[in-house]
């Protein structure tokens, strides 16, 4: 509606609310098919990746488990787990959330929904082919890029189509103000294809010489988390925290500092994975400095989110979205501070080459990103399916299984990894003693993996019920905790779920 036309309407608060509600319904309708396609596919890959994770985890303390199947030998199962989680789950659920947010924030319907469904099909076919390739013996030992080389062009093509649709929708925006979430999404959609194409060309198609492959590898792998998953996670936190609470984001200035500091520093942090390795000193020092400077964007975002939520923390008792997102946002602060410390040479001397790093990676990809995505899905899906979540009890079970599981995972491996590193650095400790020391912690990790798997199954079940409109039709949101108490607390206006 043009300004001139809008000026002719007598706007009352009710009319305003109704107008925007209808507009949102229209925008959501345009995103329904592609976004739900991405969500459904990503939940499928989440279950596949979880199965592979359990297999790999058990093999670590029980090497005879399934040992005669070359397809599931540890190296392949572990890599198939990583790649299905990275490209099947995180990348896709991130795309779904990004597309929905882009359309919502631009206040414009999503462009080319059917083309997006086609791109999703291509993406999933490529991930499937890649996963089979990894298990079947076509694996490349390049971390985060284990898929057989032919998969890369397909993934890149699908992503470019998706990014074009998102950026065109961004171009259609009716809203003059560009909200902070949009900066992050814009960055993620632009950075990922550049990263992915450059890394694949320089490592698999026209390999650069020797250790340059390793530096390109870690430039990519670290930035996959830093410049793709992190911006999407932060964009949804920046959108959903104020949306659910119904207050403005604390400070626009902090948003600006946080975004540009992330864009500048996260970029260059990747080579801290090669400390002590065959890399010129300056390159490693440069990445260490960039990693420590990450305290700037992280501190800024943490303060911005905290000050937005402050006085409203009680809402995490009721809102599934807020509960998962607050857990994710806190984990983001934790993982980033840990990462900055871990990049220092003295700490890295111990933590490098151990389970400590594995725990750190899961704190980032799971406790931060995956939990934030669960929170986002609890918000977005009912708006697309027009159906409330079937069971608050199952949502609670999902939360406690995943939150408890990842904490158990993180604590056991961090502890084991730190002592593993101390022992590795003492040449008097025989190597086999170190292996034996880690065994109980590796078993604990398998227990944690089973807890996470239970959480994922519960979530997948809820998601399917929602898609199929099973359960009682309701107009009330599915709220954790006592519904009456919750109504008293929020009053009549708005609703945090």
């Amino acid at each position: 509606m043009s300004d001139a036309v809008a000026a002719t309407v007598e706007w009352t608060p009710e009319k305003r609310r109704a107008y925007f509600a209808r507009e949102r319904a229209g925008i959501d309708a345009s995103t329904r098919l592609p976004v739900l396609t991405f969500f459904a596919a990503s939940v499928f890959w989440l279950l596949v990746g979880t199965t592979l994770a359990i297999i790999a985890s058990v093999k670590m303390h029980w090497p005879e488990f399934l040992e005669s199947f070359s397809w599931l030998t540890f190296g392949r199962a572990r890599s198939a787990h990583l790649d299905t989680m990275a490209y099947g789950w995180t990348a896709q659920v991130g795309l779904g959330v990004s597309l929905w947010l882009i359309a919502r924030l631009a206040r414009a319907p999503l462009r080319w929904p059917r083309l997006l469904v086609g791109a999703a099909g291509l993406w999933n076919a490529a991930v499937l082919a890649g996963a089979i390739g990894v298990l079947g013996g076509q694996m490349q030992s390049v971390e985060w890029l284990e898929f057989p080389p032919f998969v890369a062009p397909l993934l890149a093509l699908a992503f470019v189509v998706i990014a074009m649709s998102a950026l065109t929708t961004f171009g259609d925006r009716q809203e003059g103000h560009i909200y902070v979430s949009q900066w992050y999404l814009f960055g993620a959609l632009f950075w990922f294809p550049w990263l992915y194409v450059v890394a694949n060309v320089l490592i698999l198609f026209q390999p650069v010489r020797g250790v340059l492959q390793a530096s390109v590898n870690w430039w990519f792998a670290h930035n996959y988390l830093g410049l793709y998953l992190t911006p999407i996670g932060l964009a949804s936190a920046y959108y959903l925290i104020p949306k659910v609470i119904g207050r403005p984001v604390y400070s626009y200035y902090l948003s600006i500092i946080g975004f540009w500091a992330l864009a500048f520093f996260y970029n260059s942090a990747g080579i801290h994975h090669l400390i002590g390795g065959p890399m010129p000193a300056w390159l490693i020092t440069y990445s260490i400095v960039a990693s420590v400077m990450m305290l700037i964007p992280v501190g800024t975002v943490a303060i911005n989110h905290h000050m937005t939520t402050v006085n409203h923390f009680r809402l995490v008792l009721y809102s599934p979205t807020l509960r998962f997102i607050v857990f994710g946002a806190m984990s983001y602060t934790a993982v980033s501070v840990q990462g900055a410390l871990q990049s220092l040479r003295t700490v890295n001397e111990v933590s490098h080459f151990t389970h400590y790093t594995v725990a750190h990676a899961h704190l980032g990809v799971y406790a931060f990103f995956t939990m934030t995505m669960f929170g986002s899905l609890y918000y977005i899906v009912p708006r697309l399916t027009k159906w409330e979540w079937a069971s608050a009890r199952l949502i609670r079970l999902h939360f406690w299984m995943t939150a408890g599981g990842i904490m158990l995972y993180f604590l056991s491996l961090t502890w084991a990894g730190w002592y593993q590193g101390q022992m590795l650095n003492d040449a008097n400790v025989p190597f086999m003693d170190i292996v034996k020391y880690t065994l109980p912690y590796l078993r604990t990790r398998s227990i944690a993996a089973v807890m996470l798997a239970v959480g994922h199954l519960v979530f997948a079940y809820l998601f399917v019920l929602n898609l199929l409109h099973r359960g009682e039709p309701r107009r009330d949101p599915t709220i954790l905790g006592d519904v009456k108490e919750y109504r008293d607390m929020i009053g009549s206006e708005g609703a945090p779920q």
């Binding site: 670590m60 090497p63 005879e64 040992e67 005669s68 070359s70 030998t73 540890f74 190296g75 392949r76 572990r78 890599s79 076509q138 694996m139 490349q140 030992s141 284990e146 961004f170 003059g176 103000h177 560009i178 632009f190 950075w191 450059v198 320089l202 010489r209 020797g210 250790v211 340059l212 492959q213 390793a214 530096s215 430039w219 930035n223 540009w260 864009a263 500048f264 970029n267 260059s268 080579i271 090669l274 002590g276 390795g277 065959p278 010129p280 390159l283 440069y286 001397e349 080459f353 151990t354 790093t357 594995v358 590795l424 650095n425 003492d426 040449a427 190597f431 086999m432 292996v435 034996k436």
Partner: protein, 204 residues
């Protein structure tokens, strides 16, 4: 920040800065590294990986050995790589100019393999260890790579390369375990792991 093109420029330049620092500059510095030549013997180091070892490199990559074994030695005084005897010196960029892909690794569930060819030169040991790691290294959690070995009926004399399994791991009489082409290639690749050649840049 309500100006789209401005955001685009910022996003572009921040990213370009890391591309310049972490990809382009190292490329200029290291892409043209050459093998070191020793004056006396006219031998050069490293040698390109070829023949059976090249097939072995593919097996090493395909089965993901890298995810538990590094191929890099940290400098003396940083960790205990030197004291553990994993190498006489740190590894440097020149050690890897012929590796494709470069499998430095980031995890040491098992020991470093940068110099495994020097540390354990026995072909027989490697075959036993790959067939079942617990034969040579009791308590190991390494997976068995028995799928790289073939069980066959002994016809006449046992094969030259049949594994001499200890009693505890013996198979039914009349049969023997022999390495496949892939197993022999993998061992050839492992025996080639020798990064002990003295390089000046590694002695700082």
């Amino acid at each position: 920040m309500n100006h789209g093109p401005l955001i685009f420029l910022g996003v572009f330049f921040t990213f370009a800065s890391s591309w310049l620092a972490l990809v382009f500059t190292p490329y200029v510095q290291l892409q043209h590294l050459t093998a070191a030549k020793s004056g006396e013997t006219a031998s050069s180091y490293p040698r390109p990986i070829a023949g059976l070892a090249l097939v072995g490199q593919r097996v090493y990559s395909r089965d993901g050995c890298m995810y538990c074994h590094t191929q890099q030695v940290r400098p003396e005084g940083f960790g205990a790589d030197f004291e553990r005897g994993w190498g006489p010196r740190r590894t440097v960029a020149r050690d890897y100019i012929y590796d494709r892909p470069v499998m430095l690794g980031t995890m040491r569930t098992g020991p470093d393999l940068a110099n495994i060819g020097v540390r354990q030169p026995s072909v027989e040991w490697h075959h036993l260890h790959l067939y079942n790691p617990r034969i040579t290294s009791p308590g190991s959690i390494m997976p068995s790579y028995a799928f790289l070995y073939r069980k066959q009926k002994i016809v006449g004399q046992p094969s030259d390369d049949a594994l001499e399994l200890p009693e505890e791991y013996a198979i039914e009489p009349g049969y023997e375990i022999v390495p496949t082409e892939e197993a022999r290639a993998l061992v050839a690749y492992l025996l080639r792991q020798d990064r002990t050649y003295p390089l000046p840049e590694a002695e700082q």
